[in-house]
Symmetry: D2
Subunit: 461 residues, 4 copies
Amino acid sequence: MAEIKEACGVFGIYDLDGENVTPSIYYGLTSLQHRGQESCGLAVSRTNGERGNVQFHKDLGLVSEVLREDTIRKMEGDIGIGHVRYSTTGASVAENAQPLVLSYVKGTLALAHNGNLVNTPELKWELIQNGAIFHTTTDSEVIAFHIARERVHSKTVEEAVLKTAQKIQGAYALVIMSPRKLIGVRDPYGLKPLCLGKRGNAYVLASESCALRAVSAEFIRDIAPGEIVTITKDGIHSDMRLATGKHAHCVFEYIYFARLDSTMDGVNIYESRIRGGKSLAKSYPVEADLVTGVPESGIPAAKGYSEASGIPFGFAFYKNSYIGRTFIKPTQKERESSVHLKLSVLESVVKGKRIVLVDDSIVRGTTIANLIHMLKEAGALAVHVRICSPPFLHPCYFGTDVPSNDQLIASSHSTEEICKMIGADSLGYMKSEYLEGMAGHLPLCKACFDGNYPMEIPDVE
Amino acid sequence: MAEIKEACGVFGIYDLDGENVTPSIYYGLTSLQHRGQESCGLAVSRTNGERGNVQFHKDLGLVSEVLREDTIRKMEGDIGIGHVRYSTTGASVAENAQPLVLSYVKGTLALAHNGNLVNTPELKWELIQNGAIFHTTTDSEVIAFHIARERVHSKTVEEAVLKTAQKIQGAYALVIMSPRKLIGVRDPYGLKPLCLGKRGNAYVLASESCALRAVSAEFIRDIAPGEIVTITKDGIHSDMRLATGKHAHCVFEYIYFARLDSTMDGVNIYESRIRGGKSLAKSYPVEADLVTGVPESGIPAAKGYSEASGIPFGFAFYKNSYIGRTFIKPTQKERESSVHLKLSVLESVVKGKRIVLVDDSIVRGTTIANLIHMLKEAGALAVHVRICSPPFLHPCYFGTDVPSNDQLIASSHSTEEICKMIGADSLGYMKSEYLEGMAGHLPLCKACFDGNYPMEIPDVE
Amino acid sequence: MAEIKEACGVFGIYDLDGENVTPSIYYGLTSLQHRGQESCGLAVSRTNGERGNVQFHKDLGLVSEVLREDTIRKMEGDIGIGHVRYSTTGASVAENAQPLVLSYVKGTLALAHNGNLVNTPELKWELIQNGAIFHTTTDSEVIAFHIARERVHSKTVEEAVLKTAQKIQGAYALVIMSPRKLIGVRDPYGLKPLCLGKRGNAYVLASESCALRAVSAEFIRDIAPGEIVTITKDGIHSDMRLATGKHAHCVFEYIYFARLDSTMDGVNIYESRIRGGKSLAKSYPVEADLVTGVPESGIPAAKGYSEASGIPFGFAFYKNSYIGRTFIKPTQKERESSVHLKLSVLESVVKGKRIVLVDDSIVRGTTIANLIHMLKEAGALAVHVRICSPPFLHPCYFGTDVPSNDQLIASSHSTEEICKMIGADSLGYMKSEYLEGMAGHLPLCKACFDGNYPMEIPDVE
Amino acid sequence: MAEIKEACGVFGIYDLDGENVTPSIYYGLTSLQHRGQESCGLAVSRTNGERGNVQFHKDLGLVSEVLREDTIRKMEGDIGIGHVRYSTTGASVAENAQPLVLSYVKGTLALAHNGNLVNTPELKWELIQNGAIFHTTTDSEVIAFHIARERVHSKTVEEAVLKTAQKIQGAYALVIMSPRKLIGVRDPYGLKPLCLGKRGNAYVLASESCALRAVSAEFIRDIAPGEIVTITKDGIHSDMRLATGKHAHCVFEYIYFARLDSTMDGVNIYESRIRGGKSLAKSYPVEADLVTGVPESGIPAAKGYSEASGIPFGFAFYKNSYIGRTFIKPTQKERESSVHLKLSVLESVVKGKRIVLVDDSIVRGTTIANLIHMLKEAGALAVHVRICSPPFLHPCYFGTDVPSNDQLIASSHSTEEICKMIGADSLGYMKSEYLEGMAGHLPLCKACFDGNYPMEIPDVE
């Protein structure tokens, strides 16, 4: 039930045996859909065909809406990339859908990007001062433009990618298709995830390992922070010149973004959340009869809380899975409530019980307040809220869409105040010191909680 | 993960204060969507308007696809009914969508029906021999025709409904809208569910209590088997002349059809499934490390098994909720697998564990076999399957879409054989004697398991 | 530019050699599209298949919108019928689209109807009093119901059709498909057209001969007023028991409805309109420099006026053919005008000329007034209007959609007043006595002009 | 019936009073639809708003399909441009739809282009060598890029446009929207048309004068060849630095492209075609009974032939106007014929007559052969074909889509051979020396007939 939005998921595949990879991109994107539901697209090509012979299709909508059978079954190639995207930019966002497909000095280039740069204005200014034109408002076009400019003076496309990566600052996982090469890049901090898999003679790049499994590929390894991986007919080449050893993986992948069944930088996501829940039990024990989670995001942490506390885990809510993008929300006048339609309480489970309610985060606080009210109406004697992340206090500059400060309840209220406002009997946020433990002691970017950004961030005017 | 298909869900509302009920029907149908995903529709009218002034809209598709905002916001009335439907009949099924809206001797009649008659051929023959024409292939049109014919010689529409109910045999829950009345009928056996709610001065009829809550109505009571309820400006009138006292509620509502958060004929669905799981633990204890359920249908019973056995409950699968109606299934040639795309194993949970896997039923056995294989591949040491219903052995004549005998694995194989075929380490079906206990000791129709039909059924040629 | 709307066009085909007739129905309907643009549909069947095995598709929209390639290419049969329709009935008109496809005592019946009955209320009352239900508000369902009732006691379906025809009063051309027979019926007055064609071993029924040519069939003959034609494996059978010899063909087919390239009851449509224009030249000669017609409906009559008067024919208007059903009309505030967008004046043709402007009819008078204004603005010295029909004074009960009396300018104004109101320099309506001549001296129904209805018409309350 | 395809139509409007111009662009594009039916789009902005605040919508399809009411009614601005396009480039042509909307050094630029450059490869090469990327395969993006680059070192956008115009060679009519300016440009030869109109305080640019009339604007003048017109809050500024005085207007506008009711470079289109027909009568007199034209393109020339020869003009064909883009063409197996479905002969007009059949051009010769066959089958005694243009012998490099040489019947056959092949009794092409007279003695580009290109054209590989 988190109200935080992730930016994107990327996918790439190159089958050295020449098999058509289009269906695999479709299935890969389906398994990455949780990372972005606004738009999606894919591009495929034949490595032994004419340069520039790229087919692509992209639009606003879910994978199942944009990539229909007649479209998918007509597209054909042994190399291809795909993208799912969430964004909030303006009216004609169809133009911003990815992959970007462009012609440049060496033919056709396709690019899919997850992340956000912090020096886009400077990078764009430089280009625009030299007479560049931009069709989109995305960082991705800025990156593509720099690759194209560097390509003029570089021997190979991967060389141009490296030079570009040396200029851009921020979070990025890139999957790039040139006429004969599939390239994957991860920013030096490893802020955004990217991993490598293999299926027979086909190589796969994906934001999460769950997408490898979806296409029956085996996980090989995570792309290292700062690594540029180039896949050609001759196999895989890895370039580590960009790497710095200063890592800062986005903590929110472990709290909320990544799929339960993924393993990211060696850390299993489901287990992370279990550990998160356990740490909450340790920090904020309470006498209660039942631990439950807000579906779906709070369930694993609730399980962890239960395991550590010994308080039985149970389902307190039923979630209506038919409420999708086109759901007509009740107007003010109508008596129905959006929250009640999405979630309903299993009264027999809740009645007469003291309940621990676990969720991944609190943004505005309105949803959790509604759920607490529903539980109490159904006969819960007490509702103790446990949040599997610290309070949100700082903006993210790396591609996570967090509401602005004035909408973040934690930015202007103390935990005690919030507890009162949402009607909870007690409230505990995860203590910062447990974040690393939760995420397998990986080096993390947790700037949204503590304000320590891993790189210089732009001045807000 | 059950492969059994339910026929329908019905909804009706009459707001005596004259408020527009269209949004409430929309929300009611959204909360009944699990009962039928093939087609849906609604009809509304003004009780103080001209007779016959009915607006309606229906088509193939989910509620969110058929009933779009522009349609819903244009429709207006203080009385209305709605329907969701699953069926398997032929090409032009849009014609069979409900509610049926008809003009007859007294103006306009709209009718929504859940269930199946067993004497349709005779009823239809009688009408057709008298020169009737039929636009659809549904039982519902046969019922409507009989009501119309009886209405000619009856003082009231509810009288005509009674006379019709005396002729039709089978399972039915009907919601009928005449120009000034909302009528609900339930067959004398109570095979199909129907309940009554109230919101201010509005009365609501719905297949399940979850739909009452969705529209902020309070549950009043279940419609009794054989009861005809008529709601007019003057309130509610109940006619029990059809009732016999011989009840037989469909056991599958408690096993699979009904929503977890509904209470049906006094029995809470979630608690039923918990009890089912507990009885399995009693009948088939096993030494194991983890109890898990097949999402979503097997989860509550797994919880019950865990509670009774003391073996910890856990999540072994992740379900991709973006795989909907338009999902492109892999072809034979493609390496991806439909089951893997829908469900994936949480390896860290499963590895090295002896697992109890609970599901609601087995039809063909292919899905459960796949899941067992996935668990073992992920490192499960053993997989003990427990099924929260007895083996399926007999066809249903009352509206549940069960595959034909030759596709039912239990009709031609012993439990031992099935256990081997699906690759389980042990297999236990719920014992028949526990069904009543599971369903709160209600009188049940469990003919699909024991062949004892509550009424005479047609000869199969 | 006439504002009169026709009701329908019908088409039927039976290929005795068993070839698939679906494409031919599609092309036939395309060539009848001018007769109805609101909805359309087709139904096909295999005569050697199971009874009741009918495929059909129908919806609101043009043939090109409703019958898409994927639909048409899936449908298959050696017998079939189709329909195009214009109507004005209420919201859910999709239900009223034709052909009607019904099951009745002898299997499946499909029916397409052009026309309007005058005793529908009585016919419907009789049925409804006996307990009938109606899904649509069309006359066609009433006819189908009577056929079904008569079929019970008749040896053959054509016998039941005859008995039905003996009861119904009004205008009708029917095409009926029973499992093994294609039947065509024309009312005893011959108000609505129907003709017969042949292509190899396939027989074709169509509202107009242009539809025969569209499917490469040769015209055989018109169906006679009161004739019932039955096409079976054994060939054609004609039943004339209904015929009376009292004929009254709808004059508006010759004035406006029928396509220029059709020949109807032996009279060529294009030549009729030429004759109409000639008679206007004789009745209302005027000194002028150019004769022109309102596109498209007034062009042939203008050509006739030119030929008879010796005044040169010319094109004064350009018509934008891209302005279709979805055209967004200018709002009051916007400066653009619908008429100007559809038609523009060829100034060089018009300037300094005295013009004779010919159209088929005047309904409200607003369009012609606009055109006269445009011509004068473009420099026309005078505009003499000639109308190729008498003033509209009486309602049509036979299926022609004429605006109600208060919208008919001729019902409350003299010719002199109208001339002034529309800004013409002179105005001449065709004299009634020339109508027969125009239509090849056929016996006509011209009740809309003279009030002499060929049969008793219902009392207006 | 010409098979030659035009590239585009452009439209721009700036209302100095601040009125919303979106509907006017819609109506303007509707009136230019004949110039391009593949894709269309529009972009609008507020001149007093933020820079870069541009709304736009474009896609494949007709104006009525792409620009639906809900889209149009949401868009708002006092300045805007629009485009209709025909093209033949590859799969993902939606990307190539116009207007192009780009951000560049000075904010947002929108550009609509009619025409074709001959030095695109050099221009693109220069850019691409400097690291440019291209999203589309259109000349228009190359132009936009050059404007952006020049803008860096120019004081004003019109200065950058001038510098760009000095580099690009070929045919172009451009309409450009910058945040506060509307700019129109016409190539120095005047190959492509562009004219200026005024409505109150709003200025309008359009490919043809018919689009001015559509929006109730008055024609002011044609933009001169080589003129750059800039419309700002302060009115109109004209820059003639590009002009050379060497004009070469595309002759095909007068033969076929332009709408009958337009006047282009002072010459009325309808009158041109009348003159063309007259010259044919003079060059190729013949004894005949009737002159007719192929609808719609041959009708005016046929009228001219008739006037000059004294042989009566008549309609020999009926055209079905419901056969649009989605028409399902008959397969080889089906007996129906595409030509017969689109056009049918009015037999009564044709029978026993010697006919002069006029069309605008012959490309492959198959259509005219079909029509001659149809006329003879309908009883024509002779068919004399007159073509209102010389034989097509040379490719067009300026944006007219002519089939390649091997498909042009005239490139490999003499007139006598063609006459025989199409089954005509005589055949006369317009003599080259009459082209200037037809087009009002304007200086013309008639390279498609005589190979004399007004500028150097690219070597074919």
